[in-house]
């Protein structure tokens, strides 16, 4: 791995970039640095945020500065810290039935597949959680099969319900809030990524794998009722 690029962000953060385009080796370097910072946080660092190919270190400007943090991060790059999370595989139910699958027909038309083939392709994907981003519990997963990869819509659609299973390009995520999205809505999951459990408030860990399982409307209602306690 080549040395990362360091860019100051205002008076209180440093961006550590391992690449400027999507790259698995760069993501692995991000996760190694994340683990190294967790094992040995530098003085004055308030928070650090791993993303696809870079990691942001946020610090207290009264305690430290960009140059000091850069030197400390550089010192951590060669250290092989064990990740603090062992990836697990989650089985997640999705209901692709009409009330929840508002874009299924459009995706079928754009990909030239039948609606059943779109569902089968989505179920066949091997998904991995890369990061949480955008909004609480929005776990960005990659692994959408090539035949299902579509550009985002030209304009976002408002008021898409929480629990929607949405795709764009190679990415898939399960929404946790009612929000606008320009991604394609394939179905609805009863799974709660915001668990409501104070000890473990977010369902997925970075690096976890996800397999989707098809639910009938009745199965969705039953699981949805159960997950609402």
């Amino acid at each position: 791995m080549t040395a990362p690029r360091f860019t100051p962000v205002a008076d209180h953060a440093l961006l550590v970039e391992f690449a400027r385009a999507l790259d698995d080796a760069a993501h692995a370097a991000v996760l190694r640095l994340d683990a190294a910072l967790t094992a040995a946080p530098c003085p004055g660092i308030r928070e650090w945020v791993p993303a696809f190919v870079n990691l942001l270190v946020e610090f207290d400007p009264a305690v430290t500065d960009h140059a000091t943090v850069e030197a400390q991060v550089t010192g951590l790059l060669d250290q092989a810290a064990a990740p603090d999370h062992t990836p697990v595989t989650h089985e997640v139910g999705v209901c692709y039935e009409a009330p929840f699958a508002r874009d299924l027909a459009a995706v079928a038309e754009k990909t030239g597949l039948s609606q059943d083939a779109v569902i089968a392709a989505h179920l066949a994907g091997d998904y991995r959680v890369y990061l949480y981003g955008f909004a609480p519990g929005y776990a960005y997963m990659a692994g959408v099969p090539p035949e299902l990869r579509l550009d985002r819509k030209t304009a976002p659609v408002r008021g898409i319900a929480a629990g929607s299973v949405i795709v764009a390009g190679a990415q898939c995520l399960i929404t946790t809030l009612t929000m606008p999205t320009g991604w394609w809505i394939l179905g609805r999951s009863p799974v709660k990524v915001l668990t409501g459990d104070e000890d473990r408030p977010f369902l997925f860990g970075v690096g976890d794998r996800v397999r989707f399982r098809r639910l009938s409307l009745a199965e969705f209602e039953a699981e949805n009722g159960a997950s609402h306690g």
Partner: protein, 328 residues
């Protein structure tokens, strides 16, 4: 323990419970939230001898009217120059004998009285702290409301009742309003982290301005109006972390300054990032107000950030001392 109960008679949009926020959760997609003007929030609490990050009510330009149903409690109002009225329920907003004052006051309200906070000459946010504990739902250890989700203490709606536990009464007084609390029209920025995505003319246009706040603003961020900022060939980057103060430019060439409830990652390039200390007073600007950006080096930013942080710590220490004199 004495408690006071308030009913929300009227609440403008974006009136919500806020506190010191929930920093440290960006890796789960959760921004820190907290006050748009964190300093005014802290000073409202300190004026009552409360921990600086205690839950308060953040009042927008839409204003707030509360009616005290039972009990008696003192409160502090800080933030922008809002109008504050109290009095018994009667004709008009408050009845005859009502008191009209402004923000940066400590006063007391009791059962049968109303408290009206509404927009004044300047400022966009006011903070209402109680001499007691505002009973508000917490999420991930904080009562700060993430407005887009209503997670946390929540957005205030007419008809709701809110309880202040362990309610106390302290003498009324004027609060000193720090000069730094005035709306700030000139912001220090460090260019980047994606300055390389912009043509040199765009970087010059950003620094030259002029910029005006548009009405398209909320707790997530505010869109500015000014010269178009042409992007180079890199229209989007792999989604990367955002901080409060990031100036993000979408494909339309329009900059957005991201604020308390910002999305935690984004795929649009950031032309510059505002110094953290400038953001509280920036948040007190209103739509139509002008703003200018002064680029400084990262080294200058670090020195200025440290100087401002030390000065703010000293100011808070003096407030705590005065508080000791006022009620101790």
């Amino acid at each position: 323990m004495a408690e006071a109960v308030f009913r929300v008679v009227q609440a403008g949009p974006l009136v919500s419970v806020q506190d010191g926020g929930r920093p440290g959760m960006m890796r789960f997609g959760v921004p820190a939230s907290g006050g748009m003007d964190r300093k005014a929030l802290a000073l409202a609490n300190l004026a009552l001898g409360r921990p600086e990050g205690s839950p308060v009510i953040e009042v927008s330009l839409g204003g707030l009217t509360l009616e005290c149903l039972s009990g008696r409690v003192s409160l502090a109002v800080t933030g922008g120059a809002f109008l504050v009225e109290t009095g018994v329920v009667g004709a008009g907003v408050v009845g005859a004998g009502g008191r009209k004052t402004g923000s940066w006051q400590v006063l007391t309200i009791e059962a049968g009285e109303r408290l009206v906070i509404r927009r004044g000459h300047w400022g966009a946010w006011a903070y209402l702290a109680f001499a007691g504990t505002l009973q508000a739902p917490r999420w991930l250890g904080s009562a700060a409301t993430l407005a887009s989700s209503n997670l946390g203490g929540g957005v205030l709606k007419a008809g709701q009742d809110w309880v202040v536990a362990a309610a106390e009464v302290v003498p009324p007084r004027d609060l000193p309003r720090p000069v730094s609390a005035r709306p700030r029209h000139s912001l220090h920025v460090v260019m980047g982290p994606q300055a390389h995505c912009f043509a040199p003319e765009a970087l010059e246009a950003f620094a030259a301005g002029p910029w005006v706040l548009t009405p398209q603003g909320d707790r997530m961020g505010v869109r500015l109006k000014g010269p178009a900022l042409a992007l180079g060939d890199a229209l989007s980057i792999p989604s990367e972390p955002i901080v409060r103060g990031s100036v993000q430019v979408a494909g339309d060439g329009v900059p957005v300054v991201l604020l308390a409830d910002h999305q935690t990652t984004g795929g649009y390039p950031k032309i510059a990032t505002v110094l953290d200390d400038d953001l509280d007073a920036f948040a007190q600007l209103r739509p139509g107000d002008g703003v200018a950006f002064t680029p400084i080096s990262a080294e200058e930013a670090a020195a200025l950030g440290r100087f401002r942080a030390e000065r703010w710590a000293e100011y808070k220490a003096r407030m705590r001392e005065r508080m000791g004199e006022a009620v101790g």
